[in-house]
Subunit: 527 residues, 2 copies
C-alpha cells in the first residue's frame, strides 16, 4: 500500500499538521514552485482537503500572485518555495507585497536540520534573504513546532496592515511524525490612536488656510473614502492619495480622490498652496528617487505636516473619530458620476486612445492591475467615471508585478474581469505568469504597451541631469533589436493573443475580450 518506505501507519507528518493548520486558519490557496526538499509538503497538500495548489513556472509569479490574491481576498494565501534560491526568485514581488501591506505566509523549504552543516549545493543563508522582505521569520526546529508556528505565521501576516510572515521548514521537520494541527489564533489587535491626536488634528485643520488630507491604506475603500470625503467637505480640505496604492475602490458612485503625481515637481504643483498636510494611513510623501539638487520630501514649502497615523494603526477608527470631532457626519459628499469617455477616433494607437477604449468599455466590478509604467496613466484617467472597479498599483517599484498580481487577483475573484495594464519591459520580468493564467483559465485581459523601450528610463536619464544618451546608453534603455513578439510569447504559454496598431483595432480587440471569459492578451504597438 502507501507509506511502505517509512513506517508511519496512522501517524501524521509535520508537513500534514502544517497544511491542516493553515487550512484551519483560513488559508486556502497555495502558490508554489516546489523542489525536492518540499516533497513532503507537496504530499501533505495532496492529502489534506481544503488547500488549492496553484503552480507558477517561476517564483516571481508565485509571490506576486499571492500579493494580488491578498489584495482582493483580504486574507493571506501561502506560498511554497524551494530553499534560498526559490525565495530569492520571489524577493522582488515580496518586496512589492511588503510595501503594499499585503498579508502573505511564505513556507520555504530548507535542508534537513542535520544536513545543513554539510553545505550541499543548495544550502544558503535563507534567513538573511528573508528578513528584508518579511516582518516575521522563524525556522521550525522540529516536526512538533510546525503546527503552532504555522498558526503564528498566519496571525502575524494579519497584523495591520498586512505583513509577510516567512516560515522556514527543514525537510526533516516536514517528514518526521507530529501530533496534530493547531487552531486559528485571534487576529492581532490594531493599535488605537490617542484621542488627543484627533482633537489636535481637528484644531489644526480648522486654522489652516488650505488643509489637505493624505489618505492611505485601508482608507481607500468605498466606505472610509466616504467618511474622509465628509471630513473634507466639512473642513474645506482637499483629499489626496499616494501615487501607488495597494487597492483603490473607485468609479461611478464612489468618492473620487486625487493622486499625487509621480514626478516631484508635478506633485508640488498639484499641492500648490497647501499649508497643512494631515496624514492618515500613510507617511509623509517622499520622492520615488533622489535627483541631483531636488528635495527628497515632497511637501510644499511652508506646509506643516501632521502624521496622525500610519497604516499599521487604526486608520478607520481615526477617520470616524475625526469625522465626529469636526461634526462631519451629515456633510454632503459628491460621488463620482457615471461618465465614460467616447470611444477614440480611428487612427493612431496611443496610450491615450487605449485609455479611452478601456474607460468606455471596462465592465462593472473590474479589477485593474496597473503596471503600465509610463503608459498606464491615461487608462486611469479615462476610467475615473466607469462603473465601480478596483485599481491595484505597483507598490514597491520592483517591475514584474503586473501579470502575477493580475493572476492572484483573478483567482481571488473568479467572477470579476481582471484587466492587466503592462509595459513590455516590465511584463518580460515575470512573463511566465501567462502560463498560470492559461492553466487556471483565469478571466484576465492583458494589455501590453509595446513601445520597445524602458521608456521611463529614457525620461529619467534626462531628469537625473546626464547628457544625451549615446549608442551604448540607448542599448541599455531600449528593448527593440530584436522586437519582442508578444503574440507568439503569449500563445507559447497558451494564452490567445492579438496585435493591434490602430485605435479602432484596439477597440475591437478589447471589446471582444470584454465579451468573453478567459485569458487574452492584446499587444499594442504604441509610440
Amino acid at each position: 500500500m502507501s507509506d511502505a518506505k517509512i513506517d508511519r501507519r496512522n501517524k501524521v507528518t509535520g508537513a500534514e499538521t502544517l497544511i491542516e493548520t493553515l487550512v484551519n486558519c483560513g488559508v486556502e490557496m497555495c502558490f508554489t514552485n516546489p523542489g525536492t526538499s518540499e516533497m513532503h509538503l507537496v504530499a501533505a497538500i495532496d492529502k489534506i482537503p481544503g488547500m488549492r495548489p496553484v503552480l507558477g513556472l517561476f517564483e516571481g509569479v508565485v509571490t506576486g500572485a499571492a500579493d494580488g490574491y491578498a489584495r482582493i481576498a483580504e486574507k493571506p494565501a501561502c506560498t511554497l518555495l524551494h530553499l534560498g534560491p526559490g525565495l530569492g526568485n520571489g524577493i522582488a514581488n515580496l518586496h512589492n507585497a511588503k510595501k503594499a501591506g499585503s498579508p502573505i505566509v511564505n513556507i520555504v523549504g530548507e535542508h534537513a536540520t542535520y544536513h545543513r552543516k554539510y553545505e550541499a549545493p543548495l544550502s544558503s543563508d535563507i534567513e538573511s534573504l528573508a528578513r528584508p522582505v518579511s516582518s516575521w521569520v522563524k525556522m521550525a526546529p522540529d516536526a512538533a513546532s510546525l503546527a503552532p508556528l504555522g498558526a503564528q505565521a498566519v496571525q502575524e501576516s494579519m497584523r495591520s496592515p498586512g505583513n509577510i510572515a516567512t516560515l522556514l521548514v527543514p525537510a526533516d521537520s516536514a517528514w518526521d511524525v507530529a501530533r496534530m494541527a493547531a487552531k486559528s489564533l485571534p487576529r492581532p489587535e490594531i493599535p488605537k490612536v490617542d484621542s488627543a491626536a484627533i482633537t489636535n488634528a481637528a484644531k489644526q485643520i480648522a486654522s489652516a488656510r488650505k488643509p489637505m488630507i493624505l489618505l492611505g491604506e485601508p482608507g481607500l475603500r468605498e466606505a472610509p473614502l466616504e467618511v474622509a470625503a465628509r471630513i473634507a467637505t466639512k473642513t474645506g480640505a482637499v483629499l489626496f492619495c499616494n501615487t501607488f496604492n495597494k487597492r483603490v475602490e473607485r468609479g461611478a458612485g464612489r468618492v473620487p480622490i486625487t493622486t499625487i503625481p509621480y514626478f516631484g515637481e508635478m506633485a508640488l504643483d498639484a499641492m500648490d498652496g497647501v499649508d497643512l498636510m494631515v496624514i492618515i494611513g500613510t507617511k509623509t510623501p517622499v520622492a520615488f528617487f533622489a535627483y541631483p539638487g531636488k528635495p527628497s520630501v515632497v511637501v510644499p514649502e511652508g506646509c506643516e505636516v501632521l502624521e496622525v497615523c500610519d497604516r499599521d494603526k487604526d486608520v478607520l477608527g481615526v477617520l470616524d473619530a475625526l469625522s465626529d470631532e469636526v461634526g462631519a457626519s451629515g456633510a454632503d459628499i459628491e460621488l463620482q458620476a457615471l461618465s465614460r469617455p467616447d470611444l477614440p477616433d480611428a487612427g493612431e494607437l496611443t496610450s491615450v486612445s487605449i485609455g479611452q477604449s478601456i474607460g468606455a468599455m471596462m465592465p462593472e466590478g473590474s479589477i485593474v492591475s496597473d503596471e503600465g509604467v509610463s503608459n498606464g496613466i491615461w487608462s486611469n484617467v479615462f476610467s475615473a467615471g466607469a462603473p465601480r472597479h478596483d485599481w491595484l498599483n505597483l507598490t514597491g517599484g520592483a517591475i514584474g508585478q503586473g501579470l502575477p498580481v493580475a493572476t492572484g487577483a483573478a483567482l481571488a475573484a473568479p467572477d470579476r474581469k481582471t484587466i492587466c495594464l503592462e509595459g513590455d519591459g516590465s511584463g518580460m520580468y515575470t512573463v511566465q505568469a501567462l502560463w498560470t493564467m492559461a492553466r487556471e483559465n483565469l478571466d484576465v485581459t492583458t494589455v501590453v504597451f509595446a513601445n520597445r523601450a524602458y521608456q521611463i528610463l529614457n525620461i529619467e536619464f534626462d531628469r537625473v541631469g546626464v547628457e544625451e544618451p549615446g549608442e551604448k546608453a540607448k542599448s541599455m534603455l531600449n528593448i527593440g533589436n530584436p522586437d519582442l513578439d508578444w503574440v507568439k510569447l503569449s500563445e507559447g504559454m497558451g494564452v490567445e493573443a492579438t496585435r493591434v496598431d490602430t485605435a479602432e483595432g484596439f477597440t475591437a480587440a478589447f471589446a471582444s475580450a470584454m465579451a468573453q471569459k478567459g485569458p487574452r492578451l492584446i499587444e499594442c504597438l504604441v509610440p
Copy 2:
C-alpha cells in the same frame, strides 16, 4: 552643450571613476538591467571606452550570464543591478556562481545616501540580500570611495577560486564629482598547502587497497587533469570528479574522469571498494538533498577521507607536489580516444537518441551549458569521445542557469559553438535569455528537452518516501496543461526555432544548427 544641468565642466563623476577603474582592472563586459538610480553609471559606461554593456531583460539572465562569461573568460564581468529587487532577481544565479567559484563584480545601485532614511518604495536592506551570495560586500559612502572600492572588488573577486564581490553604489556617490580612477590591484595570493600534508597523502595512498582521488576546481582543466592522471597511474588510484562542476575540459586527447553519480546509492555503487578518498580542490561529497533514513555524507563505509586541500588553496601546486612525491612524472596516461557514436536510428526521440546525435556531431571547441536535469546525462555520456570541448554544469542547484550561462559563455568565446542543454521546466525560469542571444547574435544552439514535467521531482517524490502522487500533487510536478510551445516562445524573442519529435528530425535540425552561426533553438518532444 552637455552637462548643462549640473556644473561639472571638466570634472568626472564618481560613476565615471568607477567604470574607468573596472576597465583598468580588466573588466570589459557589463551585464545589466539598470534603473533610475543607476542612470549616472549608465552614462559613465556610455562615455568611458572599454566597457561593453549587455542588456538582459531580467536580472536572472544578467547574473547567470556573468557566471558563464567568467567560467570561459577566467576573469570577472561586472553586473549593474537596480537596488534590492534587481539584486533579488539575480540571487539564484549568483548562488550558482558562488557555488561554482566564478568571479563576478556586482555593482548595485542604492538610493542617494541622504534619501535612504525616507524609506522610498524601492528602499530595502540590500546588504542582507547580498551577503548570502557574496564573499565581499561594501557600500561606497561617497564619490571618492568608488574608484578604490571598485579596484578592491575586482581584486576580491579574483581570490581563489573566484568570488562574488558586491559593491553598493548610492546614487549621489555616483553623480558627485570625484578625482580619478584607480589602478588594478594585484591578484590575491593563493594559500599554499603544507608539504607535510602532501607527504602524508602520498604515504596513505601507498598503503591503501583502492585509493581514489576526488578532484575539483581548478583541477579539471586539461593540464592538471594530466598530472592527476599520472598520479593515478603511478599509485593505482581511481580518479573522480563531483557530479556538478564549474568547467570540465574533456573530449578526445584529454584525460577522461569519472563523475560521481547524482543519487547517493548510485554514487556509493560507483565508489564500491574504495578505502581511501584523497580530496583535492573540493570537499567530502555530500548528498544533494537529505532523504529519510539515508546518509548525508556520500562516502563508502569504512573508507578513510583525506581532505588535502579545498578549491580556495593551491590545487595546482598540490597536484604537482603530489606527483613529485609519488614519482609520477614519467607515468603513462591514457587519453580519451576520438570516438563518436553512430547517429541514432530513425524512430523515437529520446534523451538517448539526442545524446547520440550530439555526440556524433558537436564540433571541436564546443562549450556545453548543461541544465538538461533528468535528460542531460546521455549527451554527456555520448560526447565523452567527441573532439575537445568544455562542459559547464548547474553548480548550485538553482534552476534557470542554463540559458544565461550559455549566453555569457558565448560572449566570452564568440568563435566557439555553444550548446545549451535545457529542461523545459528549468528553461522557463530565465527564458528571457533567448532575447539577449538574439540581440547579441550569439552562436548558441539551445536543445530543450520538453517532457512537460519537473521530471526530477516525479523521481524525487518517490525517493523521499511519500505516497503515489494524487491529482493535486501531479499538478505541482507536471507542467503540461497547457503545453508550452517553445518554438513560439523562442521566435517571440527573435531566436529561430524548430520542433522535432523523431530521432532523425533532431539529427537534421542539430546538423543544420551546427553548420550555421547564430542562435537557434530545437524543441525536443521527449517522453
